[in-house]
């Protein structure tokens, strides 16, 4: 039993990270129509930055710095590559973000080298033992950090003027423009937020799995599958999709470790065949809800 509990715990931790990635992807897709294949590379770049600067800075300022850099990365990428391409089709935008992902992968290879890098947990406290399962402190931080990030993002979307503008743009882009919401500003802010979310995911994940220049691809695919599982529509769906994907992967890792990737991705495809609208009923088909 404790073995299952152990995998449940690691599934929840994985799911928290994937939720953050798929939240960034879904947010960008709903508000700007960009399906961001580079989201995983944002996570990878932030994670590597976190690991590299870890020895030079205390934790809290480092986290803030990495998040700020993540927002900056998202915003810069938007200015350079997404804004000039707003008029293109979804498929063309996908190709652009694949190009971006490869550029970031290449830059990471040149900057950080080809080795996977590791770093210590946020704190050196001893792990907890719950009902025979071990919960490391970093696992707790991953889950807590993801929850805080998600809650802050959702609250900001709900309560702030800017958040309302983003939601309005997601509901009806033309109408929001008529009401004075600048579509340029929306894309810019959204990609910045996506970059920030990716930076949080990267910092949380780096001490658990380590990070290498190749990590971005895996994360992008898993985040995209999670987002699709959530219906690519509502943010709630994105969170459910991420969590489900994490749990599926944890149990695939448990049952057949060598084929876990194939089994998880295959299961998601089958789930989609059965429920094309995603997991959360109706949200994928419903227009406008964020």
């Amino acid at each position: 039993m404790d073995k299952y509990l152990q995998f449940l715990i690691s599934g929840i931790a994985l799911g928290s990270v994937y939720s953050l990635v798929s939240l960034g992807i879904t947010l960008a897709f709903r508000t700007t129509g960009v399906l961001n294949f580079a989201q995983g590379s944002f996570v990878m770049v932030s994670g590597l930055t976190f690991i590299t600067l870890r020895d030079d800075m205390p934790l809290i300022p480092l986290l803030l710095l990495v998040i700020a850099l993540g927002v900056l990365l998202g915003a810069v990428v938007e200015r350079i590559a997404i804004a000039p391409a707003r008029h293109l089709t979804h498929e063309s935008l996908v190709i652009i973000t694949i190009g971006l992902a490869e550029v970031l992968r290449g830059l990471a290879l040149l900057t950080f080298g080809d080795r996977t890098k590791y770093t210590d947990s946020f704190v050196a406290w001893r792990p907890l033992h719950v009902a025979g399962a071990t919960v490391s402190m970093q696992t707790l931080f991953v889950v807590l950090g993801a929850v805080v990030a998600v809650v802050v993002t959702l609250l900001a979307l709900e309560r702030t003027r800017l958040g309302r503008a983003l939601r309005a743009s997601a509901m009806d882009s033309d109408m929001s423009i008529l009401c004075g919401v600048s579509p340029k500003m929306v894309t810019f802010v959204t990609l910045g937020v996506a970059g920030g979310l990716a930076a949080i995911a990267g910092s949380l994940l780096a001490p658990v799995t380590g990070m290498g220049f190749e990590s971005g691809l895996d994360l992008a695919i898993k985040g995209l599958f999670a987002a699709v599982l959530g219906g690519l529509g509502s943010l709630k769906g994105a969170l459910w999709g991420g969590m489900t994907f994490g749990l599926l992967e944890a149990f695939a890792l448990f049952a057949v470790p060598t084929y876990s990737v194939s089994i998880t991705l295959g299961l998601v495809v089958l789930l989609l065949v059965v429920r094309p609208q995603g997991l959360t009923s109706g949200t994928g088909a419903r227009v406008g809800a964020l």
Binding site: L88, I96, I98, G99, L100, L104, L109, L232, L265
Partner: protein, 348 residues
């Protein structure tokens, strides 16, 4: 042959003539250029042409972004290598490779083509990870992540095709064949129904085009062609590993199709030439480290998509139209009818 179909036939014949010129050039090249290095570059270009045509047909004609191209090439390469190593006739192995890749495409297509177009792109991309995972883990059959060595090579009777020259002719024979296939699809009633599906699924369905079936057929065709490319690659290199069929291959093939122009086979030829030159001549001359490749090709993809979504061939065509419409206006002092039809074609 009435007035309506004549321009279509003329356009098809013009393209076939062009391809014939390319074929003659390719056949004659080894007589003029004897050095091994140049021929090797052309073999590489031929490999890209075959694999990229798989993407070009699917994306250019049907609008399906088949990001799983490297996975299909991997299925082809490994089917060929495994069967060939077990003593199957290599030609039969090539056929099996094509069929296996087509089968994988058919299964995935039946499952995910019902979903939204972008879901399809994501699922196809996932196939790259799945292929890498299965090849690396299934060590009994595939020799795992280290790769397979000693892949057998094709021969014609007693003539081994493993030499540089033999591989060159083999590769380009298939490249020309695949380009011809793409061209014939493009210029047939069937191909026009595919283009119609790309431009509007609703409208083409209203005209009786079986939309799902067209998409599935193009996807399967795309997988089969990529599988053929993979098998030929395996014949050429004789050492295959999952690394060769990762995202790098997807990046290069996408650059070939996007930079050249996805609507015609000429784009594939231009793109393959550009990528091979850049990868093997220009980049090594400018940069000391090969690691710059990802940045350069990724950057090219972004810039090309923003500045020239129709590719080099599209740009040339626009320039020609602009020039000819100016000439026409000067001569007849009225908006010419001829160029406007050309415009329609380029948007078709």
């Amino acid at each position: 042959m009435d007035r309506l179909t004549l321009p279509l036939v003329r356009r098809r014949n013009r393209d076939i003539t062009g391809l014939a010129v390319v074929a003659v050039f390719v056949f004659a090249l080894p007589f003029a250029v004897a050095d091994d290095g140049t021929l090797r570059l052309f073999i590489l270009a031929g490999t890209y042409v075959v694999i990229a045509t798989g993407l070009q047909m699917c994306f250019g004609y049907a609008g399906l972004l088949n990001l799983g191209i490297p996975a299909f090439a991997a299925v082809g390469a490994y089917t060929y290598a495994i069967l060939g190593r077990d003593g199957t006739n290599p030609w039969v192995a090539v056929l099996c490779a094509v069929l296996a890749a087509a089968l994988v495409a058919a299964v995935l297509g039946v499952l995910v083509l019902r979903l939204r177009a972008l879901y399809f792109a994501i699922a196809a991309f996932g196939l790259v990870l799945i292929a890498d995972n299965i090849i690396s883990a299934w060590t009994d059959v595939t020799d795992g992540a280290e790769g397979m060595i000693g892949v057998p090579q094709l021969s014609l009777g007693d003539l081994l095709l493993g030499s540089t020259e033999g591989t060159y002719y083999l590769m380009w024979a298939f490249a020309i064949a695949v380009l011809l296939l793409s061209l014939l699809v493009r210029h047939s009633a069937y191909g026009r129904s595919v283009l119609a599906v790309r431009d509007s699924e609703v409208a083409s369905a209203a005209f009786g085009v079986p939309v799902r079936r067209r998409l599935l057929e193009m996807f399967v065709l795309s997988g089969a062609v990529a599988g053929l490319g993979g098998a030929l690659y395996a014949h050429d290199i004789t050492v295959i590993s999952p690394k060769a069929f990762g995202v790098e291959l997807l990046l290069l093939v996408t650059v070939v199709v996007v930079v050249g122009g996805k609507d015609t086979i000429w784009g594939v030829l231009v793109g393959a030439a550009a990528v091979v030159l850049l990868q093997n001549e220009i980049l090594p001359a400018v940069f000391a480290s090969g690691n710059i490749e990802l940045v350069v090709f990724g950057g090219i993809l972004v810039v090309a998509m923003i500045l020239a979504p129709t590719g080099v061939v599209g740009l040339i065509r626009e320039a020609v139209q602009l020039a000819s419409s100016r000439v026409g206006r000067g001569r007849r002092a009225e908006p010419a009818g001829e160029p406007s039809r050309e415009t329609e074609e380029s948007h078709a």
